[in-house]
Amino acid sequence: MNSVNGYSTASFMRLRQEGRTEEVVRRLIEVIDLGLLSSGEQLPSETELALQFGVATVTLREALAVLRQRGFIETRRGRNGGSFICATAPTSEQQLQLRLLELSALELRDLGDEHVAIAGTAARLAAQRATSEHHQRLLSYISALTEASNRLERRRADARFHIEIAVSAQSLRLTHSEMQLQAEIGELLWLDADGFPDARAVAEEHRGIAEAIINGDANLAGILAEAHVTRAIKRLIGLHLQLLAQQEEVDR
């Protein structure tokens, strides 16, 4: 007998670290990040939000405190008080590079693997299940991307396109997964680095995927979406290694 049994039981029984508070924080950041709630808007009251998330008020307060500390919301006291969404401060190129550097190449590869699975499957199903309203929305996010004037807008149009594919696929789970992935890596994809495509080039790739979906070509849509995601992750890993090499140089 080998130790396979003992080992696998132990590792499968380890829980994900994310607690209730972190989950609420993550969901709210996704929603703010993707522009579903925009700056200046007031969040519902603590009691309402707690009910909505199905968490205790204490947990919700903890989550709001984290968001406040990270600059996503501000809380005003008084009669017209409450929590308000702050204008998303544009993340500096340097901050983004630092975030990319902190991720490991392995983590990036694993994120990429998951995104390929989600985006590919969503695109295949969308080609079978989308109707003309979805097609119109997909095309509108492509125009939004070509017309975007800054990184935040480009990044949002990009994310919304991918999320809309999952919505067209009629799958709540794929939609949630895509939203989470976009919140995790979406911003990094718009780093302004050598070899990174401009909005027009990305929009062209989106157009290819959208056309395959509109033509009902599930295989082509899947393959194009997978290739699109794979290329993006490969660029990120490339840049990560490049930044790492520069850092090694400095350290030496």
Binding site: L36, E48, R156, V167, Q170
Partner: protein, 246 residues
């Protein structure tokens, strides 16, 4: 084993699953009509405050036992309210015994401006004067569920003053639909006007799938649904046509 259902009986039962939803919408629209009448009598335009009187009825409907709706309310046509251009009085469930009013962003310059005028479940009934059912669809901005949206136009003095609506998550009605579909002697699909499967008694198809082609196939016989469910069909497989089709 239970005896099998005749197709017309099954159609009637499927319609019955949603009859309560339509009855509630009608009650809501009648109360709005009363409200508009009263304000007309007082020679003034209704305000968002008047509209908030609907909250009691909406809550009562949502909290009704066996009600499949997750959210319900009324959306008004621009220019109808004295104090607001676009407005809705809408609540949704928050746990088994509570509801929460839905707040949306009606600031037209904002990214997240919620323009319901362009939503098919609003524009549809406004233009046709008939009830509309939208979906099922992934509702990303409202309920975060896979839902059907039912709407009914509200008319007052020969004009459309808004729409009464309800969101019904598909999982909330699946059991009721299946209990009728499973008693049919054949493979059967309940299909929306768009040709999307709402529920089916066979694992060969699944909810959310588009089956537009089946509607033209001789192997599948279509039976129309009524009572507000215009365009919906019950597709029953006719196995005797299997050979001739092959």
């Amino acid at each position: 084993m239970q005896s099998s259902l005749e197709i017309p009986v099954c159609v009637e039962r499927l319609q019955g699953v949603f009859s309560g939803v339509f009855a509630n919408l009608l009650a809501l629209s009648q109360q709005v009509d009363l409200l508009w009448q009263r304000c007309a009598g007082e020679a003034r335009r209704p305000t968002s405050r008047d509209l908030s009187q609907l909250r009691e009825l909406i809550d009562q409907q949502l909290l009704q036992r066996n009600s499949p709706a997750y959210g319900a309310g009324v959306l008004v046509e621009p220019g109808e309210l004295g104090d607001r251009e676009m407005y809705l009085e809408w609540s949704r469930l928050a746990g088994a015994e509570r509801t929460l009013p839905l707040m949306l962003n009606f600031n037209q310059r904002s990214d997240s401006f919620y323009n319901y005028l362009n939503m098919p479940w609003y524009s549809g009934p406004r233009e046709t004067g008939n009830t509309a059912v939208e979906g099922p669809y992934v509702d990303l901005y409202g309920s975060d569920m896979y839902v059907l949206t039912f709407t009914l136009p509200i008319r007052f003095a020969d004009r459309c003053i808004g729409v009464a609506g309800a969101d019904v998550p598909l999982p909330n009605v699946e059991r009721a639909l299946l209990s009728s579909l499973l008693r049919l002697p054949c493979n059967a699909l309940l299909v929306s006007a768009q040709g999307r499967v709402i529920a089916t008694n066979t694992a060969d198809y699944s909810a959310g799938e588009l089956v537009v082609k089946l509607r033209q196939s001789r192997q599948w016989q279509a039976h129309a649904l009524e009572d507000g469910l215009q365009g919906w069909q019950l597709l029953c497989e006719d196995r005797s046509r299997l050979q001739s089709a092959a």
